[in-house]
């Protein structure tokens, strides 16, 4: 968790800044339900980076990833009152993100976009990725979105295969086989890129 998020987490109620100890996820959810914007922000800052990275690693489009992660949070806000507080927020959010990202990747072909860019309309330059990230991205690009999602959930969000199966509503065996095949492909591709 980033330091900034830690500090936000303890500044929810001014005058009661005790230790700079991160508040628990459950406490933040309780606070957000009760109306504490600071608690909601702490929750958001804690989970945003992984939600955004997860979406990005599946869809490989930063604008779409931003959209997907943002809409996942909006969905979470809408359902906050009904959230089962015994559950962990991260896997719940991660499941929403992963499923939306897979859906987006599947229907991408519905977006008819041409590579032509007009001279009147244009967009600012993309923020370049470092070589390190580029290699990971290039290796992941050789996998299907479904395989990418399984790999990202397992090794970025550190879900167990059982949690992945529940999040993506897949049989456990399918998750294991996708993990195995995905990892094999990824390993080979990364070694090729290192050369």
């Amino acid at each position: 968790m980033p330091a900034a998020a830690e500090s936000v987490a303890v500044t929810g109620e001014l005058g009661r800044r005790r230790a700079r100890r991160p508040r628990s996820e459950q406490a933040l959810i309780r606070g957000a339900i009760a109306g504490s914007e600071a608690d909601l922000e702490a929750l958001f800052r804690r989970f945003w980076p992984r939600a955004y990275r997860t979406a990005f690693l599946i869809v490989h489009d930063h604008a779409a990833a931003e959209d997907i992660a943002q809409e996942a949070f909006l969905a979470a806000i809408r359902r906050l009152d009904r959230f089962d507080r015994r559950r962990r927020f991260g896997p719940w959010l991660g499941a929403i993100v992963a499923n939306r990202a897979i859906d987006w990747a599947r229907v991408r072909t519905a977006r008819r976009e041409t590579s032509d860019s007009a001279t009147d309309p244009a967009s600012p330059p993309e923020v370049p990725l470092g070589r390190y990230s580029q290699e990971v991205l290039a290796a992941l690009a050789s996998l299907s979105p479904e395989h990418r999602a399984v790999i990202v959930l397992r090794y970025l969000l550190e879900y167990s295969p059982g949690e992945i199966a529940r999040a993506l509503e897949l049989p456990r065996g399918t998750v294991n086989s996708r993990l195995r095949r995905g990892l094999d492909t990824l390993e080979i591709r990364l070694k090729e890129l290192e050369r």
Binding site: Y52, I77, R112, A118, D120, V127
Partner: protein
């Protein structure tokens, strides 16, 4: 998978993480506050805090020039006197229209071109492209109708280009406000729970800041930085706005509701309020290109022009006729194009210098796209472009 590969995945950083986080937080925060406001009961005493806007009732002044225009109109608008087709425009530029027959352009020499079966359209700042929307599709087409890019989103409407560069397009999708780069990339959500009122970019520099005005589902006017997602200011005019327009210099925002008009300074300070005469409802309004005049369609039966710089403007009637609907300024600010579905006509009214009117009939047939059979009256989407390059 090797430990090194797993480590690489964990340490992966996506592009522009901080910027994306801040933008998303602004949207999420707003949705959260909106939810809180819905849950919380609004105390009655807060109603007393609604700013009491000073209502300035401006008398309708029928100037001598206005009276002479009226006389001219009485003689000119019969079917016999209207031109049977659009042979030319009285002022340079190109007019963009959309309707049941699709989207069309009409040029100075009177030639028309169909761009496609789109329901809504908007000029890019220099008139090089047109943003079009229909059903679940948003697209950018060139003046020949060739699609340059397209994307699918639910219930797309009201696309608007950022001026002067065209680097951004804002549009509505269902009840959300979205922004996409001018080349069709980077489409993203900017706000949720938005009213079906066309958003309005504040004209600025080519590279921004990209300030965008829109109306929330609760009728608040919000001006937001589309780059960072931060709300620059917001205001509750009192009655539900139906139209937003920035002056070309970006110094004033006109907010039009059925019975009142407000002109806000760019920083969201105290607005000047204009009460419409005799409680007439305004069905359309347009600021002149220089931002000094405001044209309004009142009660569906007259068009007036008022000074937009004064809190007590004089108003001048420039056209009267049952069933007039919409107006658009010529790029040079000298003419008003008035659509008159009831008469199946367009009427061009000169509002500077000596009064002149020119009417064109059979408008529905000319923009029907179906071999001349009328399929409904088209709406005027804009009259492009001024020497500075902004769409009218």
């Amino acid at each position: 998978m090797s430990a090194a590969a797993k480590k690489r995945l964990r340490e992966f950083r996506a592009p522009n993480e901080i910027g994306a986080e801040d933008r998303a937080w602004n949207v999420v925060r707003e949705a959260y506050l909106d939810r809180q406001a819905t849950v919380a009961r609004r105390p009655r005493w807060r109603l007393a805090l609604v700013p009491a806007l000073a209502v300035i009732v401006a008398a309708l002044v029928l100037s001598p020039a206005g009276a002479s225009v009226r006389r001219l109109i009485t003689h000119a608008l019969g079917q016999k006197h209207a031109a049977p087709a659009l042979f030319s425009l009285p002022s340079p530029g190109r007019i963009l229209v959309s309707g049941p027959g699709g989207t069309w352009t009409a040029t100075t020499d009177g030639s028309t071109r169909r761009l496609g079966p789109w329901q809504q359209a908007s000029w890019s700042p220099h008139g090089l492209y047109v943003a079009v929307a229909s059903g679940d599709q948003l697209a950018a087409v060139d003046p020949h109708g060739t699609i340059r890019w397209a994307l699918a989103r639910p219930s797309v409407s009201d696309p608007r280009w950022y001026s002067p560069s065209g680097y951004r397009v804002a549009y509505l999708s269902a009840s959300t406000l979205r922004v996409v780069a001018g080349d069709g990339t980077g489409d993203h959500l900017l706000a949720t729970r938005v009213a079906r009122v066309a958003p309005a970019w504040r004209p600025g520099q080519a590279e921004g800041p990209y300030a965008l005005a829109y109306v929330t589902a609760r009728g608040r006017v919000v001006v937001r930085d589309a780059g960072s997602g931060k709300i620059l200011w917001s205001a509750a005019p009192g009655t539900r706005p139906q139209e937003l327009m920035w002056s070309n210099d970006g110094r004033r925002l006109l907010v039009l509701s059925p019975h009142e008009a407000w002109i806000y300074p760019a920083n969201g300070g105290r607005p000047s309020t204009l009460a419409l005469p005799r409680g007439e409802a305004a069905s359309d309004g347009a600021l002149s290109p220089d931002g000094r005049k405001l044209a309004l369609v009142l009660g569906g039966r007259e068009v007036i022009v008022a000074g937009a710089g004064s809190s007590t403007p004089s108003m001048r009637q420039v056209l009267a006729g049952p069933g007039v609907r919409a107006i658009s300024w010529s790029p040079d600010g000298r003419w008003l194009l008035v659509s008159w579905p009831a008469a199946n006509q367009w009427v061009f009214v000169r509002v500077t210098g000596a009064p002149r009117v020119a009417a064109v009939s059979r408008i529905a047939q000319q923009f029907s796209g179906g071999g001349g059979a009328a399929r409904g009256f088209p709406q005027i989407e804009g009259w492009c472009c001024t020497a500075e390059g902004s769409a009218g």
